[in-house]
Symmetry: C2
């Protein structure tokens, strides 16, 4: 090869390729306007907390060892509570304010958010909700100023998801007018108790209450773990659980109680009380209903975890999408131009909007606290917790991979955040169990079940224009939910029919449920997808005109991408056909083009900017100028 | 409720439920015999290294900060090399020994494995392969005893996957008989260079060579980074890249060269040389072919990363499956009894066996080094690297979740390991690019393409017995590969047909490839799945009779589970129908039963024990007795 040939070869290799512009014109989104639409409540509070988090104390330090990180997290929490942005009393008085304040913390650090969440929501909220004036006066001031760091003693080593099966005992000693809290064996030790490893001073302990020889089911007691100087109280033994894969700013511990005596007054008695002379009384007669009341307090925690999952996805997507729209490789072409990148980053963006709106709806229900909404709140807090956190796992892994090695560097935030947050799929309700809660509620709806299997829609609907019709997508999502429910219900009934006698019938039905447990989990997903899409359509109705084009596009992408993930179902039952698959692919490709047209200021980027994450909390250098990392 | 009612209610809640035994009898697997079958080579060496790793120095310490962890990793590597288990010369002389020795390290710590891998494989192996006697004598002893910790200077900030586009220059100075290595701009800085942040003393640097004004493409030079005392050499600037989401025992750095002078002799000259008076000569005439030779050395690295991915999955699955078969919840029923657990843990177990065998085949090809295998080695090392590491990501996340909170605790190993290993999907070849390599090779096979689209098999084959027929599963997997290749090839040809002139035709064809990039990646997957399954069937032929039932079952589960993941494809093209989906589900459920029958000593557990991971490397308390964590 002569030197001209080589020069030209080199030119081909090195010359930056100028790509032709996209066919589509840029979809305009005003981030400020969109943010106003996205944030329903407590805007000033959120802004104030974000501003406060500019403090240098809240910058990440990924060099330090575990013990230093824990101490830093405690100091961060102390400084935060000193600002008095909110009070634990807001848990009942102004739940939206309570949730908003705690939501902000995860943008600084997930350990901080969880340490605050355990203290204020699980411990403080339980005292606020299940306690009465005595407990409020005795404990809530110390919760508010963190002089009484609080823990939540529910989970036991042997009993994670099975809360009703806990073995810690609380026996009333009439003479001493005290409860005796006791850990009968190692499996009954309180396990994973956040904040108890080093700092916790009080703990809301779940124990099986016995009064006068009579078992009354799980009740909650405020137990002092450490004195004011931080020394363990007599009879309390705590083992620090040590390092975790992430979230190492939180000190988890394992607790054993050896006949620890607690004053009679320290049982949280909003729904049940024991008189000094040992008479038990409760406004709720059955143990299982009382149990429902006791664990009902987990709802706010689940809302916060779901919300954290969505906010985590916002952070990761903002970083990954900004970077991908700027980062070039093989010439001047940004990597966001590749459909492989689009397919990994844009459906999660749509999902994040869908989940954000769905959680907004749930928070409104939680704040209104209408008794008629109790079931919906239980179902949505369970299902959205699972959908948001499982969705986050996948979205963040894709974000991390789409940033290449940059996504692995701590300074770019995605990596450490996904490691810290990995806990959210199993804590405060394992996601598999959460999705079962959703399915169980649907399987108990006798009226719906009586209608039997829904009619299968005729295939070809997407290919004949339905791919861009919101109603069509909604009816496909709703069809899947009903069809799966009908399938499981049908198999349960048919198994029961074949069995003799009530006990055998119940067992056969339960066995069928069990055999189909993977389908049961799919019901949970299908139900959340149907709900999120329907709710998204309602949000469209109230959206300002200027925001609608972008939001409609996201709603469509959400619907299409969720249908795509269940294509095997739709194809197997004949609700879609090969032409629909092609139409779905084409419609999706068009949405990708519309979202990425316009380069670094394309709609995908402005839709991320609309999340309103300030630069000092976004932090990742690659979200700004990757050439200057 | 009276006290009898309550007692009975409590009994129902607390009594351990005795579950009826499974219908299936236990599938017997002798772990020792299976391990002998799985480990093809260097058994004694592996055992010796495992034994050596009992040293307390190799126990995890998850409390320490980043700088201490790096120092610990260096000391661990020093002690390891002092044992002289192998030599860097084995890279070319005895590749299987080389690979076997390095493979063992990941069981102790992934940072250690990667620090060793960068030093021995990327740096040492490059010198061994691309250098000649002079370089071997000058550098390899220092590689072997770690007096010359080595780095691999290929990637640049602006050029990750685009190695041909690197901008670092090497200009020959005839007068001084030196090369001048230079970083012309920040984007050309060497980025992510493992081992360079603190410890590296030499670096195999990739640079665009110019001799006598003539560009000759990328060549490799050994550049001294630090002197014997660890001080940076003149003209070398290094920025420590700091904390990463994992793998923090490895000190990654960013390197700039400011006209660094390197003796003429330090260009690795096995395939190209520059005479003292500046005459360039090479046995390979074209720049692009020479480039292929230069980066061909990445193969062993990819084999090791793929192998690490498979071994990581072995560790995580052993821990999660042992735990799940012992852990009870809601009575005496182990959580492995739930189909949701089975569906998450058992297909990855089958996949791990399939990938283990596939990598065994690849290692044999690498060791034999027949020129006719070059293409197969390139394709398999790319595709299996992607399949093994993407498979690992998913398997480990499932393992972590299936262990609940226990999977999040560092002491149970899964969590920290998955965080450390998260890098493997993008380093030494981004997986998306790796899968494209596989597809490109298939799309270049003109003879195969000439045959056009394969005939679609008639649906119903699984429902009529095919679900348990290895040949049927293999033909379905092969069909998908060919059909996807035919689809992409067809669209490329048809796009080219519509364009005028060779340049326009090439551009149109490339644009079609690009538009279908997600399908291209699916081709990579489909091809690896077809290969792994076919290779698994060949292993069955040589397996001892006693191991066949278990291996056949795993091969079947592998085939079925891969088909299941692509059900939408098979259903859309009409190769499977609804009855097949039901048959597939039933067949899979039967395999799950067979693998889990027998409780804590079921086949799923013994098949994990067969991986032969010694207790001191398994470490996780939950893999032994979760009640005694």
């Amino acid at each position: 090869m002569d030197s001209t040939g080589k020069a030209s070869e080199r030119l081909q290799v090195l010359t930056r390729q100028v790509t032709a512009g996209h066919a589509t014109t840029r979809l305009a989104v005003c981030p400020k306007e969109m943010r106003n639409f996205l944030v329903h409540d407590n805007k000033d509070l959120r802004d104030a907390i974000f501003e406060f988090l500019k403090d240098d104390m809240y910058r990440p330090n990924n060099y330090q060892g575990l013990m230093d990180f824990r101490e830093q997290t405690l100091q961060r929490l102390k400084k935060f509570v000193a600002q008095k942005f909110f009070s634990v009393r807001d848990y009942t008085n102004d739940p939206r304010r309570f949730i908003a304040a705690l939501e902000c913390l995860m943008y600084a650090d997930y350990s901080l958010a969880i340490k605050a969440g355990v203290h204020f929501t699980l411990c403080g909220g339980t005292i606020a909700k299940l306690g009465t004036a005595y407990h409020h006066a005795k404990y809530l001031p110390g919760v508010d100023d963190l002089t009484l760091p609080g823990c939540f003693g529910m989970t036991e080593l042997g009993h994670g998801s099975n809360v009703m099966g806990i073995e810690t005992t609380a026996v009333y000693d009439k003479e001493a007018r005290q409860f005796i809290i006791h850990t009968p064996n190692d499996e009954a030790s309180k396990y994973w108790i956040g904040g108890s490893g080093q700092h916790g001073k009080i703990c809301a302990v779940f124990a099986q209450l016995t009064v006068g020889g009579q078992w009354q089911g799980p009740h909650v007691f405020v137990v002092r773990l450490r004195d004011d100087q931080g020394q363990l109280m007599p009879g309390v033994r705590i083992a620090d659980q040590g390092p975790k894969m992430g979230l190492n700013g939180v000190d988890n511990g394992r607790i054993w109680f050896d006949h620890v005596r607690v004053p009679r007054e320290d049982m949280l008695d909003a729904f049940a009380t024991v008189s000094p002379d040992g008479a038990y009384s409760s406004s709720i007669p059955s143990v299982s209903q009382r149990f429902g009341t006791v664990v009902g307090g987990l709802t706010t925690g689940r809302v916060l975890i779901a919300s954290g999952g969505v906010d985590g996805a916002k952070l990761a997507l903002t970083i990954a999408i900004r970077y991908s729209c700027n980062r070039t490789q093989f010439g001047d072409r940004p990597i966001m131009d590749y459909v492989t990148h689009q397919a990994r980053l844009l459906p999660p963006l749509a999902q994040t909007y869908a989940l954000h709106f769905a959680l907004g709806h749930l928070k409104t229900l939680v704040a209104a606290r209408r008794p008629t909404d109790a079931k919906a709140i239980h179902v949505l807090s369970s299902g959205l917790k699972a959908a948001a956190t499982w969705g986050r796992v996948e979205a963040m892994q894709d974000c991390r991979e789409c940033c290449g090695g940059m996504g692995f560097l701590s300074s770019n935030k995605i990596g450490p955040l996904m490691t810290d947050m990995n806990v959210d799929v199993t804590f405060e309700g394992d996601n598999t169990v959460m999705m079962q809660q959703v399915a169980r509620s649907l399987l108990e709806d006798k009226a719906a079940l009586a209608r039997g299997s829904p009619a299968t829609p005729a295939a070809g609907v997407l290919a004949t224009g339905g791919a861009s019709c919101a109603k069509t997508l909604q009816s496909l999502l709703a069809f899947r939910e009903s069809a799966l429910v009908a399938q499981v219900a049908g198999e349960m009934v048919s198994a029961a029919t074949r069995a003799d006698g009530p006990a055998a019938k119940a067992a056969a039905s339960a066995a069928a449920f069990d055999r189909l447990l993977d389908v049961v989990v799919s019901i949970g997903w299908a139900s959340m997808e149907r709900f999120c899409h329907a709710n998204f359509l309602q949000e469209l109705d109230r959206a300002p005109e200027s925001l609608r084009p972008a939001l409609e596009l996201l709603a469509q992408l959400y619907g299409l991408s969720r249908i795509q993930r269940s294509l095997d179902f739709y194809l197997a039952v004949g609700a879609l056909n090969r032409a629909d698959v092609v139409a779905l692919r084409n419609a999706t490709a068009e949405l990708y083009s519309a979202l990425t047209a316009g380069g670094p200021r394309c709609a995908a980027v402005t839709l991320c900017d609309s999340f309103g994450i300030p630069d000092h909390l976004l932090q990742a250098p690659i979200a700004f100028d990757w050439r200057k990392v």
